[in-house]
Every structure is written in structure tokens, then in C-alpha cells.
Symmetry: C2
């Protein structure tokens, strides 16, 4: 996971805000125009656009312009980095549990 460290920094920064998490949740229902999204969040359009740009620059969403409409799409692969990181932590905990079990069941493990 260490090779994904800079990406993970950005993903966690992007997730550390309720508006940005709300956008991710909303885009889970399907691609949505920036205009439609913005109407659901009580702030000015420039403030909302800052959140959209943070999500986009950190790879959590993609946006594409068609005529005058910019549409946002969720990038689930980037969210999967968080899943992978959590799974890695669980592996560490499970290794520890296994080792504690061996300490209890096999006295030779106590030597070190």
C-alpha cells in the first residue's frame, strides 16, 4: 500500500468534508450535472465548485463537459483504495491475534 501513499493522502483529505461526502453519495445514484448537484447543497456556486474540484483533483470523481453542461461521475476505483487500506490494517490485527493465540497454546513461542 505504501506506493499509494500520496493518492491516499488526497483521498482522505477529499473525504474529510460533509459536502464532499454528500456529493460522493449523490453520485452513487448515477452521473449528475454540476448544476443539479449544486442545487442540493446550501452554499454559493463558487464554494460548491471548490468542493467539486477537490474531489476531481484527488481522483474521486471525473467531470466532462458537453455543450454548456458539466457532468460528474463517481470514480469507485479511487474509493477502493480506502477499502484496500482498511483490509491491510485488518490483516495486521489478525496476525497479532494469531500470534497471541500461539503464545497461549505453544509455550515455546514465549522464549523470545
Amino acid at each position: 500500500m505504501e506506493q499509494f501513499s500520496p493518492q491516499l493522502d488526497g483521498v482522505f483529505v477529499a473525504l474529510a468534508d460533509p459536502t464532499r461526502r454528500g456529493v460522493i453519495r449523490r453520485l452513487g445514484h448515477g452521473p449528475t450535472s454540476v448544476g443539479d448537484l449544486a442545487r442540493e447543497f446550501p452554499m454559493t456556486l463558487p464554494s460548491f465548485m471548490k468542493h467539486v474540484r477537490t474531489l476531481e483533483s484527488n481522483g474521486l470523481i471525473r467531470t466532462a463537459k458537453s455543450g454548456r453542461v458539466r457532468t460528474c461521475v463517481l470514480n469507485r476505483e479511487r474509493l477502493a483504495l480506502v477499502d484496500d487500506w482498511l483490509a491491510e490494517q485488518r490483516r495486521v490485527w489478525e496476525e497479532r491475534t494469531d500470534r497471541l493465540e500461539r503464545l497461549v497454546t505453544d509455550p515455546k513461542e514465549n522464549r523470545q
Copy 2:
């Protein structure tokens, strides 16, 4: 999940740094003194202590002092908030997939 929003903000802020993620990983192996932890990270002790305090104030670790030694313990329950949030997003995606499937298999769904 909305009731956990302020806690989630803090958890994601705390996770948005490789040193703090490293501390969480290290504590997955078991409780560790601040001194032993600090030796594993290439920075000054004051800088390291700032990371420890960020983790503690956001509930990801607990620390307790016994004599001159402060020991850090991982708080897995707080990390579980991230698991829960990811699970909630997956529910939204699965609902969408189910709806798309119904649209394909049941033409009445196309009315709206």
C-alpha cells in the same frame, strides 16, 4: 451515518497523513510507548507528538501515562466508522444497479 459526520471529518483528517497511517498500522501489532513509536519515524519528537495528538483528539488512538511512559493503543471502533461509511456507499450503488436491472427487465419502470 449523518449523525457521525463531525467524527468522520476528524477521522478522515487524521488518516490523510502517511505518518499517522503508519502509527495506526504499527499499533495494530499491539500497544506501544510513545518513545518506541517515535524511534520508528524520521522526525523530531515535537513533530511526532503533534501527529500523536491529532490521532488521539480524533479518537483513533488512546494514550495513558504510567510513571514516565505514555503508551498508545489503537481504537479500532473509530476506524470502523470508515468501514460503515464505505458500506453505506456500496448500498447506494447496489440500489442503483438493482434499479437499472428492473429498467431492463420490466418496461413499466420506464414510465417516469
